[in-house]
């Protein structure tokens, strides 16, 4: 047990992304009905098939019940009290970044995501999403030279309609679950990536999601298609201002990998988590799924989940192609009254498919941190293998950690391995580091990073450093 007196007086680092950008926005009225959906579709000048997709999803959603199996505790969400479309007012058609409202550029600057030509990150192309719309995407021309399409999904609907029509909703059908149905009905923007055959994307692609309004939900939709023998690394970051109300974020991410293609999808999620009493914060109810459609294709999820009042997400892989590979590397850190229910589903359908799951949950304060996952071997998945490792670390004596691994095998010629452990940062370990001159807080963060090492090693370089810092920051003052 960690001595409580040691740490009570440590100053708590405030959430540094909690500012609100004062900008004129175009919002539609609160509430959800067919007219609202028609309005969203109309604002985005969408083709008929997409409106039909939305309306069908909405009908399904109306018949569904909000899931409660995760046992998460939160007040009932009033879906009629949410604004489903909110966009900063700007010129109708923007031809270059110079025409983007400086306030928006400034906002992303402050978040460490400079967008302007002079300052933009040199090795990463960024799609910046502000509330319901994408405001800018960098490096588009450079990427286009390689045939890579990276743009907002609204733009893709206009310019690459055939791809959208072919793939949208094929990995996560509208009827998949309550929040996926809601997203399918009202999604506003998000990112679209297409990597043509044989192309290795010349730089990392990244989307940065920013929620700014307090009363609107964010429902983005991301679709990534990797054609035969192509590969891409995609990064996703998220922050939101501090409001004392809860904001709903219900995103859908679909990945499709064809023969020999590989997609690496990394997330650092730092939505506002609410205050110490659990007031405010984002409800992060997200459906992420990848389909390894092609032979020897590979989809790798890595995530660092530190924010949100409640996280409910299970980035999963459907392993259809022979010898396809699915990976899930996760660090979830919860503090104060945060709740996280996260994990993955590895559905082995094709033969000789392989999956790896490494999950590290850290719970501090009064938080609840659960791993929930499914490994399924289908009848045709002969010679398939899974390895899962789920480790939990408890900090303090009020936090809880759970592991719910579901295993289903219909194929005797397959292997499933599951390892789990729970540990606590011991007073002896802390004392050992302190007795070598290492400050208490640094000692804790060293041990937490050590605990997460296997996952951090999977993150792109710049993300790994950020993740390390983020964890240290989140833990400040939490050990007691």
């Amino acid at each position: 047990m960690v001595n409580e007196n040691l740490v009570k007086d440590v100053v708590k680092e405030p959430y540094k992304y909690g500012f609100v950008t004062d900008i004129e926005t175009e919002k539609i009225s609160k509430g959800l009905n067919e007219d609202i959906i028609r309005l969203i579709s109309q604002k985005k000048e969408e083709p008929q098939y997409l409106l039909d997709f939305r309306l069908k999803a909405f009908k399904k959603w109306q018949k569904m019940d909000e899931p409660d199996w995760a046992g998460l505790g939160y007040e009932q969400i009033d879906y009629q009290d949410i604004i489903y479309y909110s966009a900063p007012k700007q010129k109708e058609k923007i031809s270059s970044l110079d025409e983007v409202d400086p306030k928006l550029l400034e906002t992303f600057d402050k978040l460490g995501i400079p967008l302007t030509e002079q300052k933009k990150l040199t090795n990463v192309a960024v799609d910046a999403v502000f509330d319901s719309v994408s405001i800018a995407t960098t490096f588009r021309e450079e990427l286009a030279e390689h045939g890579v399409i990276f743009c907002s999904i609204s733009e893709a609907v206009k310019n690459h309609s055939n791809l959208i029509e072919k793939y949208l909703g094929t990995v996560v059908p509208a009827s998949d679950n309550y929040f996926a149905a809601l997203n399918s009905a009202v999604f506003s923007d998000g990112s679209f990536v297409y990597i043509p055959k044989g192309v290795t994307c010349p730089m990392d692609l990244s989307s940065y999601f920013r929620i700014n309004s307090g009363d609107s939900g964010q429902f983005e939709r991301t679709l990534i298609i990797a054609e035969e023998s192509s590969s891409v690394s995609y990064l996703e970051g998220c922050t939101a201002p501090m409001f004392d109300t809860n904001t709903l974020h219900a995103a859908v991410v679909e990945l499709i990998a064809l023969d020999d293609a590989s997609i690496k999808y990394s997330t650092v999620q730092n939505w506002y988590a609410g205050d110490e009493e659990g007031v405010g914060g984002i409800f992060n109810f997200v459906t992420k799924r990848g389909k390894c459609l092609g032979k020897r294709s590979k989809i790798s999820w890595s995530q660092v989940e530190t924010g949100s009042s409640i996280t409910w997400k299970y980035p999963s892989c459907l392993l259809l192609g022979e010898e396809s590979v699915g990976e899930f590397y996760s660090v979830a850190l919860t503090n104060n009254l945060q709740q996280a229910d996260t994990g993955t589903k590895m559905i082995h359908i094709g033969p000789k498919t392989k999956s790896t799951i490494v999950s590290k949950g850290i719970s501090a304060g009064n938080s609840i941190n659960s791993y929930r996952g499914l490994v399924k071997m289908g009848t045709k998945a002969a010679g398939s293998r899974n390895y899962s490792q789920c480790d939990s670390m408890l900090i303090g004596d009020q936090a809880s950690a759970n592991t719910f691994p579901y295993i289903k095998s219909q194929q005797p010629n397959s292997e499933i391995e599951h390892e789990a452990s729970t540990c606590r940062i011991s007073e002896d370990q802390l004392f050992y580091l302190q007795s070598r001159g290492i400050e208490f807080e640094e000692a804790v963060s060293m041990m937490v990073s050590g605990f997460c090492r296997d996952v951090f090693n999977q993150l792109p370089m710049e993300f790994a450093a950020e993740a390390d810092k983020l964890l240290a920051l989140k833990l400040e003052g939490s050990v007691g």
């Binding site: 007073e427 370990q429 004392f431 302190q434 007795s435 070598r436 001159g437 290492i438």
Partner: protein, 261 residues
């Protein structure tokens, strides 16, 4: 008890120290003064309070000082955090070094060394400069470079853990080192390596407290004083011959001693 002319001020003064853990008294009036260049051996049965004394000097949070003082370089350190004590030059070599999974030994040693260097107003070392320094120190304890890339003490043999402790001592250059049964669990070769490491690190400016059960370490490192502890007190103090006598007669011999004040 032999006396010696002392020109400098003491490094460590433990004055009539009483301490308890979970309301159980462990130390019942320990006094001990260490001057620069001195080596003090503390012997005594298991459970007599030797390890407790060493942990309290290093600032372990599980023990409460109920009476008495610990002074380091003349300053009272009763209320200092363990890291502050370590930074200012107190080193505790653990009887059972702790395993810390996932934390690389190299990074741990570097952060620790830099914390001490910062206190001494020395320049902090980056990874490359630190590698140079640590290479030189590895020689002292005959450790392989491969130890650095492993997690702190994880999967180390007993002897490797103890050598890792001495490596830390070499890097931190403490003013006083308390070595808690550093010799236990070592074979003869490892004992020699550890003992020679300790001798090379210590000098006229440093003080050493050796907590041990065995004469064999004291054959390698001759103590200035030998103290015998029993039931939370130092009951007898003598020169290095006291250890030889203890070795011959066993702790039973000390049972009838009363505390010498």
């Amino acid at each position: 008890m032999q006396t010696k002319m002392r020109e400098s001020d003491p490094i460590l003064e433990v004055e009539n120290l009483f301490a308890s853990t979970e309301n159980l008294p462990i130390l019942k009036g320990v006094s001990l003064t260490v001057y620069p260049g001195e080596i003090h051996a503390i012997m005594g049965r298991n459970g007599c309070g030797k390890s407790t004394l060493s942990k309290i000097i290093a600032g372990h949070p599980s023990y409460n000082i109920t009476n008495g003082d610990i002074k380091f370089s003349g300053e009272n350190i009763n209320s200092l955090e363990p890291e502050e004590r370590a930074q200012s030059g107190i080193f505790l070599g653990f009887q059972y070094p702790i395993e810390i999974p996932g934390v690389s030994n190299l990074e741990f040693l570097r952060v620790s060394t830099n914390a001490r260097r910062k206190f001494l107003n020395k320049e902090e070392l980056d990874t490359f400069d630190f590698e140079e320094l640590v290479k030189e120190k590895l020689e002292l304890v005959k450790m392989d470079h491969a130890f650095l890339s492993r997690s702190v003490n994880q999967g180390f043999s007993g002897g490797e853990k103890k050598r890792n402790e001495i490596l830390q001592m070499a890097l931190l250059e403490p003013k006083i080192a308390i070595l808690d049964e550093t010799d236990s669990g070592l074979d003869i070769d490892a004992l020699r390596i550890v003992a020679s490491g300790i001798k090379k690190i210590s000098n006229e400016q440093t003080g050493i407290i050796l907590i041990t059960h065995y004469q064999r370490l004291l054959d390698e490192i001759e103590p200035t004083y030998v103290h015998v502890m029993a039931d939370g007190q130092i009951i007898k103090t003598g020169g290095s011959d006291l250890a030889l006598e203890l070795e011959k007669k066993g702790y039973e011999w000390t049972d009838n001693f009363v505390k010498e004040t």
